[in-house]
């Protein structure tokens, strides 16, 4: 709660933008500085994902975790992106033309989103560490990494959920290093940066693809959902997972209709980060890939090998952590009854599905986001679009089925789950679909309006 902590976080997040800009230059390049400004949010989230993944891998490898490690890792990532960019002969950026017009209504909605984020910043600055999981194990893990300089096996095994992946504690420990102390109050501001970065990334990706009114109205609708307002700043992994998953799914959706290699490459990094953020990240990543495979079945010869390669790369990023906790005899990642144990408890099927659906469609938590997305999917199908609505349908349906399987399989959970939303595990799961809706719904409605999901103006590679 000091100026020094705030300045430290500002420095860290500027550093993440720099790292991500280097990665984006390698993956995609940009033609003008205006274009980079538009994609700064995506660059930031790439930087966060890249730093989170590589620092997690370094921790697993036993590399001492210090400020020097963080800075050198970021510089190496940015340098790798720049080298790749030069090797691929990315054009040198010019000033370029001014950003396109957004219209008065679109500007008004964008202004509301900005004011909302500014107000949330004020709340973040002095938030206490009250969220149960945050003080129970997420922040203690981060403190252990910060104070001990690595993954302390004994300490981790004493904490609840020892096998939960380390990306968020690693990023929190990174924030502690930049703040100069384990300031758990100002730490909430880091999660404000993640939210702002996610909004900016979606806006940057969709700004040239959909009308500003669609883009900003759905961003605002998702942001003002009561659960998002109340929980998004908590220093735990739930919403960070949702941002990474939503960006991965959005980039795969864009790749399905535009086929730009950088989109799938960026999605791969986000999928890897998703799997390193929470255990359900594996489920969500599998849903994105499965939906991508099904939606590209007409062009399976060209699309499927790329999607399989992308998923293999993402799994490769997440495997070392699994190897670490297995080799250290930590357990609890999967249901005690095994992957097919749910078949022994068929009576749990309906109450599990009931719990998931009642949570996903709870207007008190998410207002009307999911009903609107279903309407957007239906309109896109009716208007003649195929790839986008099929992909969206499958991501949502597979995720809901996957959540049901999870609740069904973890027999220690009493069903139907009717706990308060603060500790209700299903509410945490379904949040990902709401966050995803902010990214996919504008694309679906634009496709419905135009009667096709072919790109409006294909992006340069």
């Amino acid at each position: 709660m000091t100026v020094r902590s705030l300045l430290g976080l500002a420095a860290l997040n500027l550093f993440a933008v720099g790292v991500g800009a280097g990665l984006l230059w390698g993956l995609r390049g940009w033609r003008s500085w205006w274009e980079l400004a538009r994609l700064a949010g995506l660059a930031y989230m790439l930087g966060v994902a890249g730093l989170g993944v590589v620092l997690s891998l370094l921790l697993v490898a036993g590399v001492p975790f210090s400020l020097a490690t963080i800075v050198l890792t970021g510089l190496a990532l940015a340098a790798a992106g720049i080298v790749v960019g030069f090797r691929l002969r990315r054009a040198r950026p010019s000033l370029g033309s001014a950003p396109r017009r957004i219209g008065l209504v679109g500007a008004g909605l964008a202004a509301l989103v900005i004011v909302y984020l500014e107000a949330l910043f004020r709340a973040a600055r002095l938030s206490g560490l009250y969220a149960f999981d945050a003080w129970s194990f997420w922040v203690p893990k981060a403190k252990a990494i910060y104070f001990f300089g690595g993954l302390d096996e004994q300490f981790f095994s004493e904490l609840p959920n020892a096998t939960y992946p380390p990306l968020v504690p690693t990023l929190e420990a990174t924030a502690f290093h930049f703040m100069g102390s384990a300031d758990v109050v100002t730490l909430h501001v880091q999660f404000w940066f993640f939210l702002a970065g996610f909004v900016a990334a979606v806006a940057g990706l969709l700004a040239t693809r959909v009308p500003a009114v669609l883009l900003w109205s759905f961003a605002l609708l998702a942001l003002v959902s009561p659960r998002v307002v109340g929980r998004t700043l908590e220093p735990q992994a739930d919403f960070t997972l949702d941002y990474l998953f939503a960006l991965a799914a959005l980039l795969v959706a864009l790749w399905l209709i535009e086929r730009q290699p950088w989109q799938l490459a960026s999605a791969t990094l986000f999928l890897g980060a998703t799997m390193l953020t929470k255990r359900e990240g594996q489920l969500l990543a599998a849903c994105v890939i499965a939906a991508g495979l099904a939606a590209s079945w007409r062009e399976w010869r060209s699309a499927w090998p790329r999607l399989v390669l992308a998923s293999a790369c993402a799994i490769a990023l997440a495997l070392p952590w699994r190897a670490w906790y297995v080799s250290h005899d930590l357990t609890g990642e999967f249901p005690a009854s095994g992957a097919t144990g749910f078949l022994d408890n068929l009576d749990r099927a309906w109450p599990s599905l009931q719990s998931v659906l009642s949570s996903a469609f709870d207007a008190g938590l998410w207002t009307v986001v999911l009903p609107l997305v279903i309407a957007a999917i239906a309109l896109a199908f009716i208007a003649g679009a195929r790839v986008l609505p099929l992909f969206a349908t499958l991501v949502y349906a597979l995720a809901l089925a996957g959540f049901t399987w999870g609740i069904w399989s973890f027999t220690e959970l009493e069903v139907p789950i009717e706990q308060d939303e603060a500790i209700n595990p299903v509410v945490r799961l379904t949040a990902g679909l709401i966050v995803l809706s902010a990214a996919l719904a504008p694309l679906l409605l634009d496709a419905a309006w135009r009667g096709t999901d072919r790109p409006r103006r294909p992006e340069a590679g």
Binding site: M1, T2, V3, A107, A111, L112, I114, V115, A119, L126
Partner: protein
């Protein structure tokens, strides 16, 4: 002008909100460690605080010192501002607290009275 009007709206909102907040709520406050010390006024229970330390190890030393001279019930706890408080809690009244403080001063301790949070 029409071309820039939407961007002007965005810029005005982005700058306007912080300016309005600054104008009506003043400069942002940065709570200090002193904000975790509640003055012994009003209703409620009190605590006799022997001191604050930066680490639990240092706090345990002072706690042991207070216990050794007879202040039973001295405990350490986080104060919420990054320090560890060494105190006897549940003091029922201000008078009892001041009596405890007088006794402590006779054995080279220098506690203060605070209201429990």
């Amino acid at each position: 002008m029409h071309r820039f009007a939407p961007w002007l709206i965005v810029a005005l909102a982005a700058l306007g909100y912080p300016i309005v907040v600054l104008a009506f709520a003043g400069a942002p406050a940065f709570p200090s460690r002193a904000d975790c010390v509640l003055a012994p006024t009003g209703e409620g229970e009190y605590q006799v605080v022997f001191g604050y330390r930066d680490s639990e190890l240092e706090a345990l030393e002072l706690r042991d010192q207070a216990l050794a001279v007879g202040f039973q019930g001295t405990e350490i706890s986080r104060d919420g501002c990054g320090r560890v408080r060494i105190a006897v809690d549940d003091i029922p009244s201000r008078e009892v607290g001041e009596e405890v403080i007088r006794e402590a001063r006779t054995v080279d301790l220098d506690p203060t009275l605070e209201r429990e949070s």
